[in-house]
Symmetry: C2
Subunit: 421 residues, 2 copies
């Protein structure tokens, strides 16, 4: 689709979203679930059409010389289509957070005051060329009572347009406004700029993708951004760690999957345990082909490449691990708060007081004791699907699910009370 | 104080605040309270010095031709000094929200997961020439475990510098880092620009002041802003309102105080009750000298000036009230959501279903049934002192007290769990 005036086009999407958001905020849970299940049915019925559209994207991608990894992410395989359908059903099954009222307490004036959970309004999602994100993001925004404008990577434009039709069909069947979910129908880059600079229509932006994309968006946005920068996660093996727990957790946190944001990137070991545990761990990592980069003290115990200052900052997203021997927990906490990305960090210890201090003093969205960082995930936390893992400090930290896409307003119930002076 | 390189100076403040914030986050409640009470004692002891500094500001203000209203806000009267001391004692008496853990539930994997309340980090406060705000803001940030950089209006520079000394003295006595509270010591406007564009040192900006100031800051900031734009509050008298409650609430919401953000600015009346209630209300308002501006239907019932389209948007902050007769609750809700500022809006009704719908569908930070909008206030809500009333959608809506200056991180307690596969 060629659009002459991008600013006008985006403002139209914005107006339509704003108007739909009021209806979405007031809509019944049953209707929202009907729209989600209707979308799932539409995807089933339109599978061939989806695959044809996706083939067009893949062909264009090959012509453009996309990397095999990018082509892989772009592809809608039967398994991924089944995954989208299953995801829609799961979100329909989640409890609806909207309208929930808590803490309804009486005050001395006689008014009763509580908090009601409400949608944020209009959410803009900007993501790379992974068409399944279109359905994931749309379903979470829809269930949380928000309207959403989706801007996927340009390489996925045909797939996303076909998926948008499935969503429209689900919305239509339920009687909810079709403009509650809109996919930007142009690949013009100016559309992103417009989307992130129209606070009159968009309440919050959620970028999903590489650090570069997210930094650019955060820098240019005139709307609050819920962002996930990087996942430089740590495991600290304390002097009083249980050896078996330490080895299992340090092994799992690194090797369960390399390409995920909750993977450990730096291992910190108390110097009292380094000579006992590092050789065991080095053996385990070697079996998996994990390359180690150690500080001087580490290299005095096991053989590995030397870590540079830059390694402590690195999110490898690969079978590489930085290893540092520290004097005590204070050094570990200082290291994590300085070099880490405030994502997920764990201590392994049997010491009660140190566990308590670590939980309090490590400034990360998830802080763990005797558990693998791999648990940092919406499903494992019981939140259901997540739209991302926030490393921000305001609004939402950690996995952002339905609750993270809402906020709370105050409700006041009275019997005619007025305030004296 | 003349500072040559503002950017360098502000970066120094930022670094010092960032480093203090880690200590503040981990500090015990007792130390924070000691710092607050120590500041109160210092204000008592240094009252003469404070008044001398304030006299210098007032003299300069008079020379500059400040309006009597501005000079009034600038003045540190004995009552205001007593108010600051009392405020510090009250904040010390509030429960400490930091470290509070909720929802610590076991998951099927065996990990136990909950949320811990944590400070935001470093807060930048930008405000106009009201020196008492220095103490209010500092005390809330300190109690909530944050470090703060305060930038008050340039006309109050001597008063603020003197107050900063009192705070430093309180911090020093308690052993907390003195750079936990820093007052910007220059009136150079570039300091504001620096403060709002250094995300590496500042986590959130809270501007307090006129709409113009807040819009400028929001536009230029590279840091999240918790903002309070305007307070265009409504009372809607429904067809099924109790007449006495309706008149009392509409009268109180407008006339209790004119200069506050929770004052009603537009009264909406269902047409079924307009001819009965408007004459009664017009009489009450006339006694107080409130000037009415009505729609055509209003003017067919009572005599008043005609309201223009602009009146529906107006926050008068004065004894002026816009009055509109509406066909039903749908029109009232649509009017509030379109023209209002999402601050505080109330319905007067005896109808259960309409009360429920109004609470759900009005998109404001406080929504009330049968209570005066004048209750929208941190003390009335039981939150204690507030740093402002947020009309934002993300993070905090409504009165922002200690809780609004914190967020929640996840804590995970395990026994050696690893995640399969």
């Amino acid at each position: 689709m060629t659009i002459k005036n991008i600013a006008e086009y985006m403002a139209e999407l914005g107006q339509a979203a704003r108007s739909a958001s009021a209806k979405m905020a007031a809509s019944e849970t049953a209707l929202k679930n009907q729209a989600l299940l209707g979308t799932a049915s539409a995807i089933e019925e339109m599978t061939e059409e989806l695959i044809t559209a996706n083939q067009a994207d893949l062909a264009a991608g090959r012509d453009k010389g996309l990397s095999p990894a990018m082509l892989d992410r772009l592809e809608l395989t039967p398994a991924r289509i089944a995954g989208m359908i299953e995801g829609l059903k799961q979100v329909a099954a989640l409890p609806d957070p909207v309208g929930n009222i808590t803490d309804l307490d009486y005050r001395p004036s006689g008014i009763q005051i509580g908090k009601m959970r409400v949608p944020l309004g209009v959410i803009g999602i900007i993501y790379e060329s992974r068409p399944n994100v279109t359905i994931e993001a749309a379903s979470l925004c829809l269930k949380s009572g928000n309207a959403v404008i989706l801007r996927g990577g340009s390489e996925a434009i045909h797939s996303n347009t076909a998926l948008a039709k499935c969503i429209q069909s689900g919305l239509k069947a339920s009687g909810l406004p079709e403009s509650a979910v809109q996919v930007v129908a142009t690949t013009d880059r100016d559309a992103v700029h417009q989307l992130i600079t129209m606070p009159q229509y968009v309440d919050v932006i959620v970028p999903r993708g590489g650090k570069g994309l997210i930094e650019r968006i955060t820098n240019d946005a005139r709307v609050p951004v819920i962002k996930h920068l990087d996942g430089n996660c740590h495991v600290f093996i304390d002097a009083e760690a249980d050896a078996e727990k330490a080895v299992n957790i340090a092994f799992n946190a690194k090797t369960r999957r390399y390409g995920v944001c909750n993977a450990m990137e730096t291992l910190l070991v108390d110097e009292q345990r380094a000579s006992e545990l590092l050789p065991v761990l080095a053996g385990r990592y070697a079996e998996k082909g994990v390359a180690l980069r150690g500080c001087d003290k580490t290299r005095a115990i096991i053989e590995c490449e030397a870590a540079t200052e830059q390694d402590w900052y690195e999110e490898y997203v690969a079978p590489i691990l930085a290893v540092k021997v520290v004097a005590d927990m204070d050094e570990a906490i200082a290291h994590i708060n300085k070099y880490g990305s405030h994502h997920t960090d764990a201590i392994v210890t049997e010491n009660y007081t140190k566990a308590r201090r670590f939980l309090r003093e490590v400034d990360s969205s998830s802080v763990m004791v005797n558990a693998s960082t791999a648990f940092a995930d919406g499903f494992e936390y019981g939140l259901g699907a997540e739209i991302g893992i926030s490393t921000d400090k305001i609004h939402a930290r950690g996995p952002v699910g339905l609750i993270g896409l809402t906020s709370q307003k105050y409700v006041v119930l009275g019997d005619g009370q007025v305030r004296e002076p």
